[in-house]
């Protein structure tokens, strides 16, 4: 199955790389590139402006994409605002909503920098939700903290980008609402792997990036409940978000257009839709991804001196580990030299690294195109790297 999927991705037709860094950014299927090409070569025009037919066509495709992407995550069309990515989406909420209404934000220890720094920049105090030893949020502590701090703002990742932990989002949202808190979910690592239904989850905000889910760079989206979006002031000002401008005063369109100032990432929005459509037609189940992840974990556990950081079962998309006595960076370089691309380091999640007392990890992260073959090659390459890095100095003969 996954070998067939690989064929949809020109990247894999062009080289023999084992790509295990999809949590950083995924490869893109041909159809996504084609759809963007179509825009650029057949109906390239600006959107939401003066109405010639070319512009109309571009606007229609743009708005159809919004519609599709919104439906894909269970949202209404008007509740989906395009942003550069998850990072911008969170900065936007921090600046246009949370800053003026809250003084603190509750985050888990697992968060990505993109769900930490935006709050700090707005001068908000961060309260940290503690984890259990398997890196799961301690639900009792969570509820206790919110009980003591009702009407607060909470922001939590759906899936951890460094340890694959799937947080019990529905429960977390439920508890948040019980204490009249509002909650943003960082969906950067979820979109490519889980069926998301923001209405069923009852999330207040949900942020995603296209490039981690087979889509182009430079585009992402924020879902927000319409009433919340309506209460928000514009994040940026410029063309196509106004109803009236004068030097004294301007008035703004309704959401989502209110929040989309200036020329949008038009080709990218169109490519984003194509990516989700591709994802949808694959009808890949989470099960198949689970099988691969379990396979990888099993193989890794077979390595001597392996250090894993969670035994949790609610894990998806990526595994982090270290080899005791070896620097993760050394492994990363030697794997790269063997055409295996994966990320080593702090994965933009310094706080959890610090808490675990490490500088970083080696991370395998998966997408639908990965195969057991990929895992086997990787394990072999890791063994080779360990061998080179740990054998005695000058013991040249042993390396062959």
């Amino acid at each position: 199955m996954n070998t067939i999927i690989k064929k949809d991705f020109p990247f894999f037709n062009n080289n023999d790389i084992v790509y295990l860094d999809s949590a950083a950014t995924s490869q893109k299927p041909q159809i996504v590139l084609d759809k963007m090409q179509e825009y650029y070569t057949q109906y390239c025009a600006n959107t939401h402006r003066g109405e010639h037919e070319l512009g109309d066509k571009a606007t229609t495709e743009f708005e159809n994409s919004r519609d599709y992407i919104a439906k894909f995550i269970g949202a209404n069309t008007d509740e989906l605002v395009f942003t550069k990515g998850t990072t911008e989406a969170i900065n936007f909420v921090a600046s246009s909503f949370v800053k003026s209404r809250f003084t603190k934000v509750f985050l888990s220890e697992l968060e990505h920098h993109s769900n930490i720094v935006p709050w700090q920049l707005q001068g908000l105090e961060i309260v940290v939700l503690p984890l259990d030893k398997d890196l799961n949020i301690n639900l009792e502590e969570y509820e206790k903290l919110l009980r003591l701090n009702p009407k607060s703002f909470v922001s939590i990742t759906h899936v951890s980008n460094s340890f694959g932990i799937i947080n019990p989002i529905k429960k977390l949202i439920n508890i948040a609402h019980k204490y009249e808190c509002l909650i943003l979910i960082d969906g950067a690592q979820a979109l490519a792997h889980l069926r998301i239904d923001v209405k069923d989850l009852d999330a207040d905000f949900y942020a995603v990036s296209a490039h981690k889910a087979y889509g182009p760079t430079g585009i992402g989206a924020l879902y927000g409940k319409y009433a919340l979006l309506e209460s928000m002031s514009p994040y940026q000002g410029g063309g196509s978000m106004i109803t009236e401008v004068s030097f004294k005063k301007s008035s703004y369109l309704k959401p989502p257009l209110r929040f989309e100032a200036g020329t949008q990432a038009i080709a990218e929005v169109i490519g984003f839709k194509a990516a989700l459509k591709y994802l949808f037609t694959l009808k890949q189940t989470q099960k198949e991804e689970d099988i691969l992840l379990k396979y990888a974990k099993e193989k890794l556990q077979g390595l001597s001196r392996i250090q894993l950081y969670t035994q949790a079962e609610n894990v998806l998309g990526n595994i982090s580990f270290n080899i005791k006595g070896v620097h993760h960076n050394d492994i990363g370089i030697l794997l790269s030299k063997q055409s295996i691309m994966l990320r080593t380091g702090h994965h933009c999640a310094m706080p959890i690294m610090k808490k675990l007392g490490i500088k970083g990890t080696i991370r395998l992260s998966f997408a639908l195109y990965n195969t057991k073959e990929d895992i086997n090659k990787t394990i072999q390459a890791i063994q080779k790297a360990i061998h080179l890095l740990t054998k005695n100095k000058g013991d040249k003969s042993a390396s062959k």
Binding site: E51, D56, T59, T243, L253
Partner: protein, 142 residues
Amino acid sequence: MPQNKISKEIKQLADELELFDDVMDKYEYIIELGRALHVLNEKYKTTTNLVQGCQSQVWLHEYEKEGKLYFEADSDALIVKGLVQILIRIYSAHSSKEILDINTALLEELHLSEIISSGRQNGIASMIQKIYTYARQDNDKK
């Protein structure tokens, strides 16, 4: 989709418009419809009746008489006036129920890109929205 008087009117208008093989002739016809549009009394050109478009302004005045909804409108641009005339022919003098039975997607049969435009700032699109909102309000009263 139920067949009612409105859908028949749309069908008939579509047939009429299809007779033009030259698109410029078609628009000439629309311009003439625009010129023929019943002038809207100035007192109805109010801010409430204004449906703001990015390009041209449309004023839409609605009223109910004997269970039927009536629409009168005007615009500052001629082609828009013609399109407005077409929409009035379609929607005026029908009950709110009849209007609500019609999915706006049906208007696509007219092949007038200006009528079904995704540009949310399109005056015509806003006018159609206003017609339906009015019909919904009227229907809710019953």
